[in-house]
Symmetry: C2
Subunit: 342 residues, 2 copies
Amino acid sequence: MQRGKASIEFEEPPVILSDASVAGKKEGEGPLGACIDVIEQDDMLGMENWEQAESAMQKRAADLALEKGNIRRREVRYLFAGDLLGQLIATSFGTVDLEIPLFGLYGACSTMGEALALGAMTVHAGYAQRVMAVASSHFATAEKQFRFPLAYGNQRPYSATWTVTGCGAVVIGRAAQDGREQDLPRIAGVTPGRIVDLGAQDSMNMGAAMAPAAVHTIRQNFEDFGVDETYYDKIITGDLGEVGRKILLDMMKQDGRDLTEIHMDCGIEIFDREKQDTHSGGSGCGCSAVTLCARVLPRLRSGEWRRVLFLPTGALLSTVSFNEGKSIPGIAHGVILESGTV
Amino acid sequence: MQRGKASIEFEEPPVILSDASVAGKKEGEGPLGACIDVIEQDDMLGMENWEQAESAMQKRAADLALEKGNIRRREVRYLFAGDLLGQLIATSFGTVDLEIPLFGLYGACSTMGEALALGAMTVHAGYAQRVMAVASSHFATAEKQFRFPLAYGNQRPYSATWTVTGCGAVVIGRAAQDGREQDLPRIAGVTPGRIVDLGAQDSMNMGAAMAPAAVHTIRQNFEDFGVDETYYDKIITGDLGEVGRKILLDMMKQDGRDLTEIHMDCGIEIFDREKQDTHSGGSGCGCSAVTLCARVLPRLRSGEWRRVLFLPTGALLSTVSFNEGKSIPGIAHGVILESGTV
C-alpha cells in the first residue's frame, strides 16, 4: 500500500481495460501515425473554433475507448480528466455529454500521470469498478492560451516544443472481478510528484523547467520501491524534448546513473525532428496521453516491455505568472505500468 | 464502500484533524469575521501583485492548519489543492514550499468539495495517514482573470456575486491510528458531481448556472444513500448566492421537497448583503473553503449540527468559452460531514 515516503504500491494492480487515441494531421504524419487510432485530417474537427475542436477530440477519444473495450458509458463510475486551457474548458465541454461524475485535474502536461494515479487509486480501493482517465491538448488552443496568435507566424527557438494536437483516453478497471483475461497491462504503483522549481524562466524552453521535477520523481520512485534503473525496461518522460532529455540525463549521471539507453521521451517519439520542424519535440497533455495509447500500451500488451516507469511531466506556468516575471515550476507524476503477459 | 450509482460511503470515516482559514479585510468585516483565523488587512499580503498575494494566502492557511493541529509538514503525504486561475498558478506558487506531492485540481468554485472527496478517499484507502485539502480565491485575481480591470470600476448587476478573498486548508487523517480523540468531525461519504449544463450563458449570474448541478448532486446523494432532507441538519451549497438559492429551492420543490429551512449557502453567509454591497452573495473557491473552516466545522465540533451535506458548487466557464458564446456548465461535489461528538 503506502510505499516509502511518497509512493503507493497496489497489491492487486488495476488493469487498463481499454484505451483510445485521437490526434491531428501533423501527429498522424509523425513516427506514431500508424499506431494512433484516429487521425483527424481537419484540426478544427468540423467545429467553430479551436477550443470546441479540442473538446470534440476528448469526446471522440472517450467514446472510442468505451467502444474498443465494449464498455457502456454508465459502467464507468468516475472520470479523471484535464487539459491545458484556463479553467479546463476543453474538458468541461468535452466530457459533459458522458454524464459521468468528473474530477477535473490540472497538472499541466503531467495530467495523464495524475489521472492514471488517481484513477488506479480509486479502482484499487474499491470505490469504482471502472473509471476513465482522459487528457488532451491542441496546438492551436495552446498557442492562443500561452503564446501568440497563429496568424503572427512567430518564430520559435530550437529549445521550444510543439504542442501535440491529441487526446488519449484510458479505461481502468479490476480484471479479476471483470471476468476479463488477465494479460492486460496493469498499474502496479504510483509515485505522485511534487512541485520542483529551480528558477527556470524561459517559456520557450519548458524541457529545462520540467527536467528537475522528472529527476525528483525518478529518484523518489527508486528510493520508495528500493529499485534502480535496471528494474524498468523504459523510463518514459512526457514532454521534456531534446533539451530536457539532455538535462535529465546529465542530472541522473550525477547520481552515477546512466539512463541514456533506458530513457524515452514521448515528445521526442511523437514527431520526426528532422522532417517535421518541431524543434525540441512535442509537448502538451496530449503528447504523453497519445504516446501512452499508441506506443507504450501496445508494447506492454505484446510483452516486448515488461515494466516501465511512465512519467508525464508538466510545466506549471501561465501567461499571467510569466508576464509577472515568475519562474516556471515543474511537476512529474510517476506511474509503474507492467505487462500482463509476463 | 460504493453506494448507489455515484457515491462512496466510508466504513471508517476519515476525520478532519485540523483546519485554518485566512481571508481578506472585506470578509473580516462580514458575519463570519470573528470566526476566521486570520484576517489580512492588506489584500496584497505585502506581495508585488494579486496572484502572489493569493499564493501567500494559500501558504499561510496551510502552515496555520499544520500549526493548529501540531502536525509537521512531512507528516502530510499528499496535497489536494486548487484555485480559479488559469493553470492554477495561485496553487503552484503557493504550495511549492510545502514540498508535498501535489494533485492539482480544477472544479471552479467546487474545488474544496473535490479536494475533500479525493483526500478522504485517499486516507480511507490507507494510501496516506494524513493529507491536506486547500482551496483559495482572491477578488482581485478573479476579476482580472474573468471580468474587468479593477480600475474600470465597472458596475455589477444584482445577480452577480463577489469573489471571496480567502483560503481554507484542512488536514484529513485517520483518528484511530492517530491516537487522537475521537470527537473530531468526520467525512462519512461523498457524492462526486457530474457536469450539468442547462444552457445558462450569463457570467454575471453564476448562481443560475450552478443551481441545477447542485440539485443534481443532492438528488443523487438522496438516492444513493436512501435518505432525504431530514437526514441532514443542513444542506450547504458553496456559492449559489440569493439568485441561485431561489432556483435551487424552486427545483427541489418540484420534487416535493422543501429545503427552505435546511438549506444554507456559504455565499450568503460570508457577506452582509445589505451593508457590504455584494449583491447576490460571495463566490470563489475560497467562499466555501473559508465558510467550511469558520462556520461549518465549529458547529460540527460543538455538536450543534450532527450531520450536514457540504456541497461546493462550481461554474465551469472561462473568458475564452464565454466570448465564444458558450454556455456555463455547472458542477457540485457533495461531502457528508458528521459531528464526532454524537
